[in-house]
Amino acid sequence: MFNRELKKGSAEMLVLSFLEGRPRHGYEIGKLIEVQSKKRIQFRIASLYPILCRLEQKGLISGRWVEKPGERRRRYYRLTSEGRRVLSHQRSAWQEFVATVNQLVGAKHA
């Protein structure tokens, strides 16, 4: 399991990146993060839902209720254009940060 602070810092970026392809509902996002990280990152509802609220408040995602035949009503979130821009920026900053840390860690062991 990853460090809580690390997870907290990158949580918004994770949520945004899982909405990049298509709209998803909240529980689905949490499950995807859990599955794709092989359970090394887990978001409970109490953690995930405020993140969704905050992102929606910032205008990076927008939610809408969707009702499908035979299913319960669910709230789906999609990335807004502003969200897409922020994700792109966060992603490049994250990659730069990781590359720098890798470089430093590698240099230390060299």
Partner: protein
């Protein structure tokens, strides 16, 4: 199947969140719990375990509420369900005490997440901001005060140059404001650098004991000591200026009118004196070369008594006054010994002189001056034709204040006009109450005697006295204002420091009350504790006052530096202020709910 929506509704209150948004949040959370529940069932769990698994997702509702608040909703609240609808589910473990850390020291609050450098910057910013606002307010008050004071200043102070607020005043004011702000902002900032977070958080509910910190005691004592010395000094100055306003000048100016005439001779003066005395309502008329407290060019010279050795002949100086008979009676100066002049005291007879008691005591300390001979300078041949002459002292009059209301600059000798004529004289007329049209009538009488005589400076003698009092009155006004400011600052300062110290004991007082202490006992305790530094301050202030009063000695009039009434008054004021400063917050502290106080402990 559990009713998740109802469960969420009962466990999470979103306060003043808009109803529509609230419904969305509750529904979405319920939907996600349902998803988690269904997932658990799919994994083969039984119904109870699936419920527990779903509930685990939101095991901390308090944190969820806080996170939602951070996500942009104001004041979400959590509440316990009144009737748990899901008895199978474990209740989320949370508690939100009503007391909360609402009295957490600010620094500890900030230190929860801020760096020490940030805290120091924050404290300094606050102090400097307060200092600048205070400085700006002080300048505004100063600007208004300067205008008010300048409009009240007497004519004698008009030549002190233009007094106004300029760049230097601005620079000085803001320098002082910023310096003091930085100084008093740095003190807590430095303590923040040594801040013990654990202790800080503990003290949120259990504040420091009464004056535990030495600096608080020191502040109270210092404030009281400075206030004592300051108030004592201003009290003495106020008494001084009030005494000056009521000082006896040696004559009675009421109902006396005066005017100045030029180039007379004795016959003209004598005729004018008779004519004016004959007017209805006029009691007496006379003339003098220099009115008391007037700013006419003064004449003075050396005088010595008969038999004085040569080395003592130029040691005693006195003001020289030329008068007509009846002057002392007209201004109601007190003739202590001998007689006034008469018309026959002229150059052809024995030259005579009247001296004041100051000169009499100086030259004849052991006996009466009457009949003694005094070497004077007179001018029987005409104005400015001075000669030394021996005159016999025929009267001793009480000293009349000539230059100021308080200081005796020189003694005075009075010489009859016939042997000391002057180019101009001031006529003094005492009337029985107000005489209508006296000025016009007097001018007419002067014109009747000699139409070439100019009449100037027509005014009541009391106006001369008022002019002499003007500086003292102005100084008295300033001293009163400064005293009032000193008293206000002292009261606010003592009250602030003491009240803060007592307020720090609020929970302790509450606990004492809770375990049975009576109001009287608590009052006694607060007063006893509060008065220790106050009494120490009074003792220090007493020592300080000895220096202050010593420095003021030369400025005082009619009041002694160690005046017991002044000490008693200042002591009374400071004790009352200190008692109020300790008791008012103590009363508030006693109203604290003992249960709240106990919870804090």
């Amino acid at each position: 199947m559990p009713d998740w929506l109802r469960y969420v509704e009962q466990h999470l209150s979103l306060g003043d969140c808009p109803a529509e948004r609230k419904a969305e949040i509750l529904e979405e959370l319920a939907e996600q719990l349902e998803e988690a529940y269904q997932d658990a069932l799919r994994l083969g769990m039984n119904d109870d375990d699936a419920c527990s698994a779903a509930q685990q997702h939101v095991c901390d509702w308090v944190k969820l509420a806080d996170d939602l608040r951070d996500a942009g909703f104001r004041r979400p609240e959590t509440r316990l369900p009144e009737e748990p609808s899901l008895p199978k589910l474990r209740q989320p473990a949370f508690s939100l005490g009503s007391q909360g850390p609402n009295r957490l020291p600010k620094t500890a609050f900030m230190a929860l997440g801020a760096s020490r450098g940030r805290l120091v910057r924050q404290l300094l910013t606050e102090s400097l901001l307060l200092g600048c606002v205070g400085g700006a307010l002080a300048l505004a008050v100063g600007w208004a005060a300067v205008r008010a004071i300048l409009s009240a200043r007497p004519p004698s102070l008009m030549n002190f140059g233009d007094v106004h607020l300029d760049l230097r005043v601005f620079a000085f004011t803001f320098s002082v404001a910023i310096f003091t702000s930085a100084l008093f902002g740095l003190a807590p900032a430095i303590s923040v650098r040594r801040l013990d977070l654990t202790r800080g958080l503990k003290e949120a509910c259990r504040p420091a004991g009464w004056l535990r910190h030495h600096w608080t005691s020191f502040l109270v004592s210092g404030e009281v000591a400075l206030a004592f010395a300051l108030l004592l000094g201003t009290g003495l100055l106020m008494r001084t200026f009030l005494n000056i306003l009521h000082a006896d000048p040696g004559f009675r100016a009421e109902d006396v009118s005066t005017f100045r005439i030029s180039a007379p001779n004795f016959e003209t003066l004598e005729q004018l004196q008779k004519n004016l005395a004959a007017l209805p309502g006029v009691q007496s008329v006379s003339a003098i070369s220099h009115l008391p407290l007037d700013d006419t060019g003064n004449w003075y010279d050396y005088y010595w008594k008969e038999g004085a050795p040569a080395e003592q002949q130029n040691t005693v100086m006195a003001d020289h006054r030329s008068i007509l008979p009846g002057y002392f009676k007209t201004i109601r100066a007190t003739l202590l010994e001998g007689r006034d002049f008469t018309e026959s005291d002229d150059a052809r007879h024995q030259h005579v002189v009247v001296v004041d008691d100051v000169l009499a005591k100086e030259l004849w300390p052991d006996g009466s001056a009457i009949g003694s001979k005094l070497n004077i300078s007179d001018s029987p041949a005409g104005p400015y034709q001075f000669q030394r002459d021996w005159a016999v002292v025929i009267g001793v009059v009480r000293h009349v204040q000539a230059h100021s209301l308080t200081a005796i600059v020189r003694p005075q000798i009075y010489v009859p006009y016939q042997i000391a004529p002057r180019p101009s004289m001031s006529i003094v007329i005492r009337t029985a109450g107000g005489v209508p049209e006296l000025a016009a009538t007097a001018k007419k009488q002067v014109a009747l005697v000699n139409k070439d005589i100019a009449v100037t400076h027509m005014e009541p003698l009391s106006a001369v006295v008022v002019r002499a009092q003007a500086e003292s009155r102005f100084a008295s006004l300033l001293a009163t204002l400064l005293s009032a400011i000193a008293l206000l600052l002292a009261c606010v300062g003592i009250y602030g420091v003491l009240a803060y110290s007592v307020a720090q004991r609020t929970s302790e007082i509450g606990v004492r009350m809770a375990i049975g202490a009576g109001r009287l006992e608590v009052m006694k305790m607060v007063l006893a504790d509060g008065f220790i530094p106050v009494l120490a301050g009074l003792a220090a202030g007493f020592s300080l006052s000895l220096i202050v009063t010593h420095l003021l000695t030369r400025l005082l009039f009619g009041v002694q530096p160690g005046d017991p009434a002044n000490y008693a008054l200042i002591l009374f004021i400071l004790l009352v202020v200190s008692a109020l400063a300790a008791l008012l917050p103590a009363r508030r502290a006693m109203k604290v709910d003992p249960l709240t106080a106990l919870r804090c402990e």
